[in-house]
């Protein structure tokens, strides 16, 4: 066990980003994400990378987008109030198709709320926070080890799809320290953005090569193109022509939706014979696993589906689980955000129960077990 390490969730996010090849961080510190900025400020310069503390969160993501256009794998980290400010540029990164990663550590809200306590109140902000129609990719670790692994995957997805990817953790996971066993660098698979094969003079920056993801040169490599938040044609120039805008926006969706099959990231526990199943993510999934084990020891047929990706929603996995369930229980430390997604895909297959807590305290196994017992009767 030579690679055992004691890390907090925030530290694991930094280690994951560095393992993914991240060389640029711009951010504005905010509890409970500040340790990420802190550690990046220490680690990046000594690896030849760049750390910038910006004047605010809007500028932070702006700098991250700029760095990514120049070829660097880039990341920022924030929490609720700062995440709201970043929404503008998340939309920009989506339409200009700039790979980048935003780590948002959820704390109690709205507004400044309860800075030092966990919440899951920003799930729908991560999905719909920016204006305009665009697909969202949101990952949700529930342990320190997953903070490491999913941050790497966030970079991989950002590079593969040329899109912003959000890693949504919460205060409990972020500040929690756990003993973890990290994989060595040769065990980690990395994805790099596709570069154009043609010479600069033949380059058409936003032409769909068939995969929905146009190759992306770095600025400074000789390829010139125009980057804009306006809907653009294949050359990158603004357009309002319906026959150009429609396929463009549809391509933004298609490049991700074509891979829905591959993106059903989740884990199941005890679902072989369960009729009551819990669907949970983040820190609540930890309490849920314990509650499910306690319920099992009392003879109840209960299972757990832990979501590792929130968006695109793991519709297929949840639907599959519904086939064998009479009831699905969705515990969350918000007033019901992922439960809406579960209800959306349900279509009358089974009963959906929710368990909500907004004291900005962690959900306890006891609370989930009580609800399980109530449902089980």
């Amino acid at each position: 066990m030579t690679n055992a390490e004691l890390l907090s969730g925030n530290e694991a996010c930094v280690k994951g980003a560095l393992a993914a090849g991240c060389t640029f961080f711009a951010g504005y510190p905010i509890t409970p994400s500040s340790e990420i900025a802190h550690m990046m400020a220490y680690e990046l310069p000594r690896r030849g990378g760049i750390f910038i503390q910006m004047e605010d969160e809007i500028a932070s993501l702006g700098a991250v987008i700029g760095a990514s256009l120049a070829g660097a794998k880039s990341v920022t980290a924030t929490s609720g109030p700062g995440f709201s400010l970043m929404q503008e540029h998340i939309g920009f990164a989506s339409i200009a198709e700039v790979p980048c990663v935003v780590i948002s550590v959820m704390r109690g809200g709205p507004s400044t709320g309860v800075p030092t306590h966990p919440s899951q109140g920003d799930v729908m902000q991560a999905r719909w926070g920016t204006h305009g129609d665009r697909p969202a990719v949101v990952l949700a670790p529930s342990s320190v080890a997953e903070c490491f692994g999913l941050t790497i995957e966030a970079f991989n997805l950002a590079e593969r799809y040329r899109t912003p990817v959000i890693v949504l953790t919460d205060e409990m996971i972020a500040h929690m320290r756990e003993k973890v066993f990290l994989p060595s660098s040769d065990e980690i698979k990395l994805v790099e953005r596709l570069k154009p094969a043609e010479p600069p003079e033949w380059f058409v920056p936003y032409r769909d090569p068939g995969t929905g993801v146009p190759p992306m040169p770095a600025f400074g490599e000789g390829y010139r193109y125009h980057v804009t938040g306006l809907c653009h044609d294949e050359r990158g120039y603004p357009t309002t022509r319906a026959d150009e805008v429609e396929p463009f926006v549809r391509r933004l969706f298609r490049k991700i939706s074509q891979d829905f099959d591959k993106l059903q990231w989740s884990e199941t526990y005890y679902t072989e014979d369960s009729t009551l199943n819990v669907v949970a993510f983040g820190s609540v999934a930890r309490a849920a696993l314990r509650a499910v084990r306690d319920a099992r020891s009392k003879g109840m047929k209960v299972g757990l589906l832990k979501l590792l990706i929130l968006f695109p929603f793991v519709r297929r996995k949840v639907t599959q689980l519904m086939e064998s369930s009479t009831t699905i229980l969705v515990p969350e430390i918000n007033m019901g955000q992922i439960s809406r997604e579960v209800k959306r895909v349900n279509q009358g297959k089974c009963r959906i129960e929710t368990l909500n807590k907004v004291a900005h305290e962690p959900m306890t196994p006891h609370e989930i077990l009580e609800k399980i017992e109530e449902i089980y009767g």
Binding site: P115, M172, M176, R177, E178, K179, A287, R293, P362, P365
Partner: protein
Amino acid sequence: MRYEIGIAGSGGQGVILMGVILTEAVASVDELFVALIQTFDPAVRGGRAASTLVISDEEIDYPGPLGFDLLLGLTQRGLDENIARLKRGSLAVIDAELVNEIVWDKILRIPFTRIARDDIGDERVANMTALGVLSELCEYLSPPAVRASISSRFKGKALDLNLSAFEEGLKYATEFRGSGIEKVEKEDMEI
């Protein structure tokens, strides 16, 4: 096996640091898993602060507290808010100077703050004295590992100061062990 330690006090007492040091010490043991949850109010001093350690020989499902096997109360408020989580028959260790009221049947009162102030000469290292006591009382904590963890965090005079406070705590706990905790309990039974 699941063993939980709760440390409850207020901001400025070094409660979070204690948690980190103990967690490091446990993590250094190959066959043990450990998780640490820290809770604190936004105020740097005076607000609530608590560390919860979960030690296990298998991967930890829920990292939060289910029931403490050992509780250290460094303030009255911290103790009051956490005593309900202490498992029946488990030991409550309290700072004799800062905690006055306790209803429990197994109590160890040690004047950490007084020891640090009078014997070591600096009240700030009361938390290290408490670490010394915990290291002796909990079977999953080894004094050398805790000592190593402390040593990796301080340098020079600060290290000497912190280590001497730690050793003083160890000595205290060893003496109590020798005299038998049973005896201490009886005397301390009060409503």
